[in-house]
Symmetry: C2
Subunit: 558 residues, 2 copies
């Protein structure tokens, strides 16, 4: 019944003071004021703590000190003034691992095979005791708990306080894959932009960075042994990710509980290989592009060629070595068959080998997946590889559903594991207008804009049978960057991408079984946005400040 | 025939090297390389130049030195290397006023009555001579010419060059009112945000800052004698514009050739007055808000009351004194009559005075406009004041058409001057989702997103008779800020707001009479965005960099 009590606390009129996002699976709150002692400390009761856990504690202590987020109500919490001045002081938060837990770094826990990570934690903040406690059976769980703890506090004239003590949280995510995808190929992003995004992701407990690092437009990834590809295919010699950059990003992510799934999108979306290996690419920059590709420039790997197959497998092998994650994507979306129908080289190869295009694709994909598996990776693909092509894939392949949320059922019917990435709920770039050419009446192909409200209603189990529910690993929001750059990265992503973070942490319904409720969520999401802003993220306001300070007053019927 | 030649130069295959925006009314270019001498200077051949002209020259010289914008082509201009190394050097640009011109500050020229400002200039850059010349008959014209001159240059390994010398420009805007509107009431913007925006506006020769400074949600404008309104109605004591801030902004704008039209939106959109003067406001924060207002919170001035009328006239008088512009807006959009129908105080007043609501409104508006006129201001209003209400307005009233571009004809039929601000072309906030409440299927009321392409097709003379064309003063793009803040100001505005800047500078058609052409414009607009980025504006990319570097390759049919 704990969960039920939690929900009453959340929905019963007090939510404004509780900015926790995502909602814990179990949460109990009181009505007492409590403030942090001036010398408040976070004690790490872990023997030989890994460096990234100590660093996480330092970051948390710093956020708690510097957030200075005032309550989002009229008066910004001034009405709590006398309660806060009289409030008992919390002197410390003590972190411990459950007895018998083995101590690994946060990063080592975060990059474990999906489904084997432990993110659960238990957090108790007393109404009047001297110390709060956070326990978990992994350092990753402690990180998640710290993130929750940071969200409990508001600032009032220098006091850091809550008015809902005692607070008791028992928490664990509904799904392990809570992701965000960034495309760094259409336009380039600096390492600092990616790190800033990883920070924000970690604050809402996103666990997976899906890095769509290369595409037809540019190839910024430097790959040892394949340096010519980025040398010719990057936008410039400075618009690259060196192996050191990759290691830096992977480490930065891991320390924040985030695993990096890199994607090398093949065999489509590969025009850029023609810069370094012109013989490998069919219909490279062919005109009109619309005949040969979903967007300019056209160009796809000649996958029927044994040379191309071996080159690709070799390249994937080297990429796999750069990323410690247990999962890696080979993309596979939007393969254009007309490109090959009009490609004399491909047609000659097919005739020579006696294969049709699908058979050649199957051979190619087996080589690609084989390269990943040799490196210990679980392969991931976009949905077409399963639904549109007659390709034999490894049984453990993870399938990202993007074209429509409706397609999850078809993927499940083929018994593949699913990551929800549907354009109709989770594409952050939709609704910003058509970027191709000059049609003044054209809108983005996936209009309209996907609001946080829309994303928030996503049901991870829609159209699936009870038996298929275990196939769902989670989901992600995505930013394709045809019209994005560091200039608008923060505002186009935040706080919207927090929507799916809660959907996949909290699950198909709220902990008590009720449907998710945007009216309840909005004040908490305002909190997310304002706290992010305090930490330097350019998150947009979801409403006029007048509304943010008056929860419920800007609902349709209020 | 000059204009015809200009257009051939623009459309005949060379546009990629010419980033001028807006297109001059007459432009001739050659094919010679020319670079700036290392000691290139801008000489001001003006006796006793006003300080803001000298400052403009310094800014220009600095931009030319620091822009470091490489040409947007593959190789970033490297193919010009040998031509540039051999190119003659331009030692100076000399600015002069036409003989007989009176010397005023740029600001004094910029804030003149609309229709009396002179922005014309003549710019000649030789293919091999030592000096370029810029002449105008006003300092404002010199500023416009400097802005054009800055746009001629690219960087190649430290050389600042053009490959299109000689360049000859004779230019003057088609319309005097080329505007941008910012709402600082739904969410607050700092003075620095406004100044940064004014800078970017000036770079595309926008002449008018329409400052929608207050609204129902907040009242950040400090008005001498009416300090209680902002004291109670600002979001916080730091979210205000002091009289010194206003002077600072007005001066900053004026020095950059921009006039500031402030708007005090009355009698609707005035809920915030209830914080300081509860007796003055009908249906203040009434529920459900949708019955009484277009967006929360409800609340409108009790305009039938003589006290309110006198208070408002007094307030407008003081605001008028703060702004040196000759134009000022009293808003007047979205007046809700139900609010007054249900307001006992208003009904009592009407009964007492024997007026109906429209008569009372007419009296109120005459008082409001009278206050402006006493201060020497031309009054401006939103279209409803002319089209929906039976109100007697001053003949010289300027009417902003916003609901639909189609409404311009009806305003013209009433013989009022027009500023085009139509939501169906120029609202920058459209398409970002519904911000009210919790309907996951709701989109913004003015969906879809208004692309630059759409804005660019706007015809200032559509549906007007020949005789009515002189009623058009120009137009503006607008940012309502329910979902905007400094976090996304730059990316939501730039480079899109440059669209209307060209529409209203260049006119209903291109100089040669041809329709505007988005395909021709796109490479130039990329240039605008990239040059803005070099100057610290977070302008978004309109396309993948691959497309920006290959003009035409990402058109629908290429």
């Amino acid at each position: 019944m704990r969960q039920h009590i939690a929900l009453i606390a959340l929905l019963g009129g007090i939510p404004v003071a509780l900015g926790i996002w995502p909602i814990p699976r179990s949460l109990e709150t009181g009505t007492s004021a409590l403030k942090l002692a001036p010398d408040f400390t976070i004690e790490l009761n872990v023997h030989n703590p890994p460096a990234d856990l100590s660093a996480a504690v330092s970051r948390s202590a710093n956020y708690i000190k510097t957030d200075k987020l005032e309550q989002l109500v009229v008066g910004r919490g001034a009405s709590n003034s006398s309660a806060v001045s009289r409030a008992p002081q919390l002197k410390s938060l003590t972190l411990s691992l459950e007895p018998g837990s083995t101590v690994h770094s946060i990063m080592d826990e975060a990059i474990k095979e999906i489904g084997t990570r432990s993110e659960e934690y238990k957090l108790d903040v007393p109404a009047s005791g001297e110390s709060a406690t956070l326990t978990a059976n992994s350092t990753l769980g402690l990180l998640r708990g710290l993130t929750t703890f940071e969200q409990l506090w508001y600032d009032l004239s220098g006091d850091t306080y809550t008015i809902q003590a005692p607070i008791s949280v028992i928490d664990t995510p509904a799904y392990p894959f809570r992701g965000f995808m960034l495309d760094t190929a259409r336009n380039f992003f600096n390492v600092s932009d990616i790190k800033r995004t990883l920070d924000a992701m970690s604050w809402v407990k996103i666990s997976q960075f899906h890095w769509h690092v290369v595409d037809s437009q540019s190839f910024p990834l430097q790959i040892p042994g394949f340096m010519e590809v980025s040398q010719k295919g990057a936008y410039s010699s400075s618009m690259v990710y060196t192996p050191e950059d990759v290691q830096d990003i992977v480490q930065y992510a891991g320390e924040r509980g985030i695993d990096v799934m890199v994607e090398i999108d093949i065999p489509g979306h590969t025009s850029v290989f023609s810069e370094s290996h012109p013989d490998f690419v069919a219909c490279a920059e062919a005109s009109p592009w619309a005949t040969f590709a979903s967007e300019p420039p056209a160009g796809q790997l000649r996958f029927a060629s044994a040379t191309v197959k071996n080159f690709t497998a070799g390249l994937l092998t080297e990429v796999a070595k750069m990323f410690p994650s247990s999962i890696m994507s080979t993309g596979g979306d939007e393969l254009n068959t007309e490109c090959y129908a009009q490609d004399p080289e491909t047609q000659a190869t097919l005739k020579e080998t006696g294969q049709d295009l699908q058979q050649a694709l199957s051979v190619f994909m087996q080589a690609a997946q084989g390269a990943l598996q040799t490196q210990g990776k679980t392969p991931a693909v976009w949905e077409e590889m399963v639904l549109d092509n007659n390709v034999t894939l490894s049984n453990d392949t993870v399938v990202l559903v993007w074209i429509s949320s409706m397609d999850a059922a078809a993927v499940a019917a083929k018994n593949f594991r699913i990551v929800h990435a549907p354009s109709d709920y989770f594409y952050l770039d939709c609704g910003a207008g058509e970027w191709v050419g000059d049609d003044p009446e054209a809108n983005s192909w996936c209009d309209p804009f996907k609001t946080w409200q829309k994303s928030y209603t996503f049901d991870p189990l829609a159209n699936l049978t009870e038996a298929q529910t275990s196939l769902v690993l989670g989901g992600e929001q995505l930013l394709w960057t045809e019209q994005s750059s560091p200039a608008n990265l923060d505002p186009i992503v935040w706080p919207r991408a927090a929507s799916s973070a809660e959907v996949f942490w909290t699950g198909a319904t709220l902990p008590g079984g009720e449907p998710r409720n945007g009216t309840e969520a909005l004040p908490r999401l305002h909190d997310v946005a304002f706290r992010m802003a305090q930490r330097g993220i350019r998150a947009i306001p979801l409403q006029p400040l007048w509304c943010a300070l008056r929860p419920g007053k800007c609902n349709v019927d209020s």
